[in-house]
Structure formats: structure tokens, C-alpha cells
């Protein structure tokens, strides 16, 4: 018997990934969360981080920037605000942007600083996936 989860990753613009996987790890709101076959029905908020989809001998890496995961009857659906596959990411570009952010100056506690901090988090998550 095949013990696999049907997995699809949706963004508002398109379906990013579709396929069956043996084991999935997602970045939940406060840490990573793993899913195996026969998981109880669950809905969880997601944070900024990577998704690992392991199937036999290959692992797919994606980066997700917020969203929600739903699993029910071995169907996993990730509804992402924004997500990229590893192939879509460009290491050099991300590093360049990170450097730019590093050089920026902000007044403490300003809104800009907060927004840039979030962008930095996203970029770091992207970089991590891109370097895989």
C-alpha cells in the first residue's frame, strides 16, 4: 500500500506544486511541523520559512512567506501568500538585496524598519532554500 500524501501548494496567482509525497515539513507559525500519512485533520497558520517535501529519494524545497496549511484525508493543501520553488530563486540577486538592506539606516521603532525586518526575514528564508 502506498502511504503518501497528496500535496498541492497554491498561491493567489497559481498552483505552484502538485504531487504526492511521503513526508512533508512546513514552517508553521512557531516552528516546523511534519506530516506523515494518516495525519489528523489540521489547519495551521504558517510563517516565513522553507517547505521540504520528501518523496523516496528526492526532496523538493520551496520557500513560503506566510499562509495556511490544511490537511484532511491525506490531502495537504498549502495556501500561501507568496511562495517560490527552489528553481525560481536566484542566489546572487537575494544576496545583493540583503546587502542593500544591511546598509540601510532607520530611526528606531519606525514602521520602515519593521517592514524591512520582515523583508530581511523573507530574503534569508529564500537564501536558505536557494543554497540547498
Amino acid at each position: 500500500m502506498i502511504r503518501k500524501i497528496d500535496c498541492s501548494i497554491l498561491t493567489p496567482e497559481k498552483t505552484l506544486y502538485e504531487g504526492s509525497v511521503g513526508f512533508a515539513v512546513v514552517q508553521a507559525h512557531n516552528g516546523e511541523m511534519g506530516f506523515l500519512y494518516n495525519h489528523a485533520p489540521l489547519v495551521s497558520e504558517l510563517g516565513i520559512g522553507e517547505i521540504r517535501l520528501r518523496d523516496e529519494n528526492k526532496t523538493d524545497y520551496l520557500v513560503i512567506e506566510g499562509g495556511i496549511v490544511e490537511i484532511r484525508q491525506n490531502k495537504m493543501i498549502i495556501l500561501a501568500e507568496n511562495a517560490y520553488t527552489k528553481d525560481e530563486l536566484n542566489t546572487a540577486e537575494i544576496e545583493k538585496r540583503l546587502k542593500e538592506i544591511d546598509d540601510m539606516q532607520f530611526a528606531p521603532f519606525s514602521k520602515e524598519k519593521y517592514l524591512v525586518k520582515i523583508e530581511e526575514q523573507k530574503l534569508k528564508a529564500r537564501l536558505k532554500v536557494a543554497m540547498r
Binding site: 498541492s8 493567489p12 489547519v43
Partner: protein, 294 residues
């Protein structure tokens, strides 16, 4: 009767116009296909979020207390987001949306309400300028460049306005895609979110609501979902409008091309008639002249 050369000039000018319209038809057909693809690709997320939200509503969470659901007893400041195109030559696409918005606005103004117009697309902006109605804010239609990020920005802006109490209600006037061959202008209320706008769509589902584990909690998940729901909603309104625009343009251009075909046919017939009449006339003159000599 028009002479031969006049008719010939008209034929050639119509032929030129026909070239332009048939090219535009092809261009908008291609663009329409692209928009249709994007629209189809965005559908799964749209359906899924509706499903999750109605599932959440089924859990009976006290979600209606969320500020995004807050109804003002007597809404007096209302924002209408009108989505039009940047360009014309698309039949009644723009005027339908604008008419719909303006009628709706007039109705609200008659009720003594303050209406803010948020206009998207150059056609809408120009029209509001023309009828001298103040516009709260206007941006050109991003067309192909529209992505979920810009939808997110716009929805955050509207949400902010709503939450600060700047406006009491937000409506979107756009062109809804009923099916791939029929589109119609529609006004929907975006904010406050009405609980029945997504629940009860599929009553069969009610029986099969699954008991989920919610992480970190039902309320948190729900509150997290709402802004996402707004973004997806706005994004799909934009996609639907863009698709309708291309569709309307294609139809308009096809009609123009067909009409010019008819005109060319008619004019060619009158051209041949004029030519024949001239020849007949000349022959008659020659024959008449020969008879006079003989």
C-alpha cells in the same frame, strides 16, 4: 453619383482600417487567452480559501466580533472602488462599469451619504474628471503587471481605511465574469465582510464539516485568514475585469472588422457600377459620334 476615384480612395482607407482592427482583434485574443489562463490558475486558491472559511464558520467561532465584520449602524462614509481599463476601443466595457458606479454613487448621495471614489484605470479617471466629480484617489490600471503583491498593497490600504473608521463601507464595482462568453458589471461589498458572502454557497458541505485541529487556535487562524481573503478577492476582481476588457475589445474589433468587410463589398460593387456606367457612356458617345459622321 460618386466618381470612380472617390470610391477607390474610400475602399483603400477602409482596407487600412480593417488591417488595424483585425490586428487588434488578434492581439486582444492573445491577451484574453493569457488572462483566462491566469484567471483559471487563481481559481484553486480562491475556492480553497472560501472552503476553509466556511469550515471555520461552521465551528461557531465568535468571529463576528472581529473588526472586519463590524457593521456601522448608519454608514455615512462609503468608498467605491471602480475598476476600469486604461484604453478604449472595447465596446461598452468601460462605460458599463462607470455607469454602474455612478448610478450607485448618485443613489448613495441622494441618501445623504459621503461617497469617496477610488478609481482605477485611465478611462474611469477621465470620466470622473469630465463630470466634475471629485476623486478620492486614482491610479492607472496596472493591466499585465497586476500581481498578488499589488493586490495585497491595495487591500491593505482599504483595510486600513476601514479599520481606522475613515470609511464605513467599501464596495467594488468591477466586471464579473459570469462565464467565458458573458460578463456583466457588478457591485459587491468588500467591507465589512458579510458572513453570508461565502457561507451557505454549498449547503451539501454542511454535513461533512470535518473536525479540525486548529493551530495555534481557531480565532488566530481565522483572523489571519481574513486579510488573505480580502487580497485574494481583490486580486480576482482585477483579473476578472482584465479578462472582460480583453474579451470586450476582441468582440468590438471583430464587429469592426466584419463591418468593414461589408463596406468594402458594397463599395466595390458601386465602384464597378461607376466604372461600367462610364464605359457605357463612352461607348454611347463614340457610337453617337460615328452616327453623326456617317
Amino acid at each position: 453619383m460618386a466618381n470612380q476615384r472617390d470610391i477607390k480612395n474610400r475602399i483603400s482607407s477602409i482596407k487600412n482600417t480593417r488591417k488595424i482592427t483585425s490586428t487588434m482583434e488578434m492581439v486582444s485574443t492573445a491577451k484574453m487567452k493569457k488572462m483566462q489562463q491566469r484567471l483559471e490558475m487563481s481559481m484553486p486558491a480562491n475556492l480553497k480559501i472560501n472552503e476553509i472559511i466556511s469550515n471555520l464558520m461552521g465551528t461557531g467561532v465568535a468571529a463576528l466580533e472581529h473588526p472586519l465584520f463590524r457593521e456601522v449602524a448608519d454608514p455615512s462614509r462609503i468608498l467605491i472602488l471602480t475598476i476600469t481599463g486604461n484604453r478604449g476601443l472595447c465596446g461598452s466595457f468601460n462605460s458599463n462599469v462607470i455607469d454602474n458606479s455612478v448610478n450607485f454613487r448618485d443613489k448613495l448621495v441622494d441618501e445623504g451619504k459621503d461617497v469617496l471614489n477610488y478609481v482605477i484605470g485611465k478611462k474611469g479617471i477621465n470620466y470622473f474628471k469630465f463630470i466634475n466629480v471629485p476623486v478620492y484617489k486614482s491610479i492607472p490600471n496596472p493591466e499585465d503587471k497586476m500581481n498578488s503583491d499589488s493586490a495585497a498593497k491595495l487591500s491593505d490600504e482599504l483595510r486600513e481605511l476601514f479599520l481606522t473608521g475613515e470609511v464605513h463601507e467599501v464596495y467594488i464595482s468591477y466586471t464579473k465574469v459570469v462565464s467565458s462568453t458573458s460578463q456583466q458589471p457588478e457591485i459587491i461589498r468588500l467591507l465589512p465582510i458579510s458572513p453570508d458572502s461565502y457561507s451557505g454557497k454549498d449547503p451539501v458541505k454542511e454535513t461533512e464539516i470535518t473536525e479540525y485541529i486548529y493551530e495555534p487556535s481557531v480565532g488566530r487562524v481565522f483572523f489571519y485568514l481574513l486579510p488573505l481573503y480580502l487580497r485574494i478577492k481583490i486580486f480576482s476582481c482585477f483579473l476578472e475585469s482584465a479578462f472582460s476588457e480583453q474579451f470586450a475589445r476582441r468582440v468590438a474589433m471583430k464587429n469592426a472588422t466584419d463591418a468593414s468587410d461589408d463596406m468594402i463589398r458594397g463599395l466595390t460593387i458601386s465602384y464597378n457600377r461607376a466604372r461600367q456606367a462610364k464605359i457605357t457612356n463612352e461607348i454611347a458617345e463614340i457610337v453617337g459620334g460615328a452616327a453623326a459622321l456617317g
